[in-house]
Amino acid sequence: MALAIARPLGRLLASPGQAALAGVIALFLLLFLVVPVTTVIYVAFTEKGTGVFTLINFVDFFRTDLFVNAFWNSIYVSTATVLVASIFALPLAYITTRFSFRGAVLIQTLGFLPLIMPPFAGAVAMQLLFGRNGSVNLLLDDWFGFKIGLMEGLNGVVFVQAVHYFPFILVNLSAALRNIDRSMEEAAQNLGCSGFRLFRRVVFPLALPGYVAGASLVFVKVFDDLATPLLLNVKDMLAPQAYLRVTSIGIADPMGYVIAVVLIVVSVLAMWASTLTLSSKDYATVQRGGGGLAKRTLRPWESAVAYCVVGLILALVLAPHLGLLLLSFATVWSFSPLPDAYTFAHYARVFGDSSVYIKNTLVYASLAALIDVLIGGAIAYLILRTKLIGRQGLDWAASAALAVPGVVLGIGYLRTFYDVPMPDGRPLATFWMMIVLALAIRRLPYALRACHAALEQISVSLEEAAENLGATKMRTVRRVVVPLMTGGILAGFISSFATAAVELSATLMLVQSNSDAPLAYGLYVLMQSPAGRGPGAALGVIAVILVAICTFLSHVVIERSQRAKGALH
């Protein structure tokens, strides 16, 4: 797409430098996103060995009970997770936005915490707390003589995923509720509507876009997730099946690719369905003035009920953090509500022989984040500031990464780059840089959005003023655009870094040796054996702290740059 620009006609549309930049980005996306994904699809639709088009692989897929079962299990787990996550998120969102409620900010912040813990890290902690022989069941058995099978099989996955992902619904729904102009609600009251009818007829329908956005995100993330089911030893779901086929039978077996295509199709369908529900209902109103739902004061007994509900939900969703922390300090913890004794040995071990994981994570995540902001910033600039033909294509390609599950990208990299030898003769797919590239592609859509938003807020006239005073395009970018975008770029970098640091789906397929493994992978390996659980938990705690610091930093950066901009206006 970028090649067409080099023609003389291009002079009107963009400078040669810009065209070259677009070319480099297009090549990058082609090599590390389009080609691997196309390869996966190609393999799924061709006969093994001959390359002839066929649907036989899909017929096989639907004839194999194991796969059909895995398909429905994945659908079940994703749907049930959305439901359970909604049960967690709805009351928190409604209570904190709708009523003047002491601690609303604290609740919103705590409600966000689960997102920063890698879900598979929480899984082990939750098994210790809620599993068959976990703390809660041991106590229940002691006191009342029964146990609850919360963590059994698929439902265990649902529970862990719901606890991890419900913040997506909470954040989106709260934002939607807060954005409803107060007059929308008052107009209904003015016409005689109140109480629950008001909620049903006006408030909820207006908040629906936020809810659907959050819910579809949760559905897709859970459907594509690999690490959590694996760690809970649930193998009869789609993503684990794809992983197992490719790792145990080999990269030539077409079934892994067929599953990958199914994953892509379902992800895309889910996103498409969510945009469809919303666009058919045209919610695009300009919300002038107003400023959020009217907040009602709670009567004392209502307040008590609300605090109980909020307390219970928070206790449930924050339990994994506590469990992980306890585990990281525990000598032995099994068949007892609490650990037998406490020690620092796990942390010593993690900072000793396992420190390579931490080092790798820092290197990989910062490289990936750097690539993301460079490419994201460049694409944003090309889209907003040039008329380059095909610039929209770059945007679409980069955003399409959203719909590509990590497993699929991993399989695609293995297949595409396995036959490409490096100078020392080893396949390119085993080079650690591939992990970095996969992480960068996976996080690119988010970084692109951050950069796009940052650039959009800068008035073009600021650049024109610089050019008017004699600065070239290049120098204008360096002296005006980049400094003004710093806040947005930095925020994009930090959030890319934080999420890349705990990503596992693609990584799991690409890590070839322990010495190349990042923290998330090390954590996963350690958690497999009872002896490794302590150090694994310590790694998990480190990951949580790392991500928490980053999240906090990006918050501060965004806030500060917004304040600086506010002062300008």
């Binding site: 007059s183 929308m184 008052e186 003015n190 109140s194 207006l206 919610y283 002038r288």
Partner: protein, 366 residues
Amino acid sequence: MSQTVISPSLRATAAGVRVENVNLAYGSNPVLKNVSVEIEPGEFFAFLGPSGSGKTTLLRLIAGFNKADSGTVFVGGKDITDLPPWKRDVGMVFQSYALWPHMTVQRNVAFGLEERKVPRAEIKARVAKALDLVGLGHLADRRPSQLSGGQQQRVAVARTVVVQPKVLLLDEPLSNLDAKMRVQVRRELRDLQQRLGLTTIFVTHDQEEANTICDRIAVMSDGVIQQVGSPMELYEHPANLFVANFLGSANILDGSVLTEGAARAFQLTGGIRFPIPASASVPTDAKLVFRPQDASIGSTAGGGGNALSGVVMHREFLGSVVRYAVRIGDSDIIVDAPFRSGDALYEPGASITVRISLESALWLSS
């Protein structure tokens, strides 16, 4: 809006509104200070004042969205102070229109009737009539986002009047329209109000809007109602400096009132004295207030009791009049001189004499 005959199903039974001794504060910031006002049944009434003067707060108080710290609100003689908004039957059109984006025009307008459990068939008929009334019958199936600002505004009005409220409240209904639409819509509103016979309260910060369509106006400033009266009364007999200044332009000259036996005089801060007409009632701390058209401008020659010498600072040519900004001593005033073609104009910097016609001057305390 089309000139359909108003069916009885839309015609309201007009009710008066009485607000008595209302006080309201946000935290320690008093926003309404002992406000009392009475609006007659069927009247088109305006709350007029600068932004932040408490107009919206007072309107929302009548609608039930604000609670007064003390005071009472009556509608149609009934005390509604403690009723929640949904039991008041006081229709409000919001400044942002507040049309629900998830419902069509038709469903928006039907909403209030549905809440009142009106039978389906009747809802249909009344919604159709209300939409015809505002000339939007053909757009019933659109969504609000597919309408222009003016159309949205009419839907908002239809949605409110269809339930036959006792009173219609309009909060800056024209502020989101462009200048041309504003003039048209305000006529339509007046027309609609007349035909429905609906008691209407109109909030605006624009004196021209209030003057052109309202029967009476309450001028507000700082949470206090400064004066209530018809547009002409307020212009001719402003109760204080604020009202004089807010309705039309006014020149204000500082000075002190001197009494020498039966004769009174006004001495400007600069030292010049005017005789005060015997008929004028003048408070002791009065300032001299006059409209730009109540003074004339001439070349320096001559003098006399009420002539002041000054310098032209700049001038604006407005067509039928020329507006001069003149500095007299250390105060600046505005003088409007009628313009006929061929007249010579005074240039900035020219020394001139200003004569104030004291018969139409006002003596107001601040």
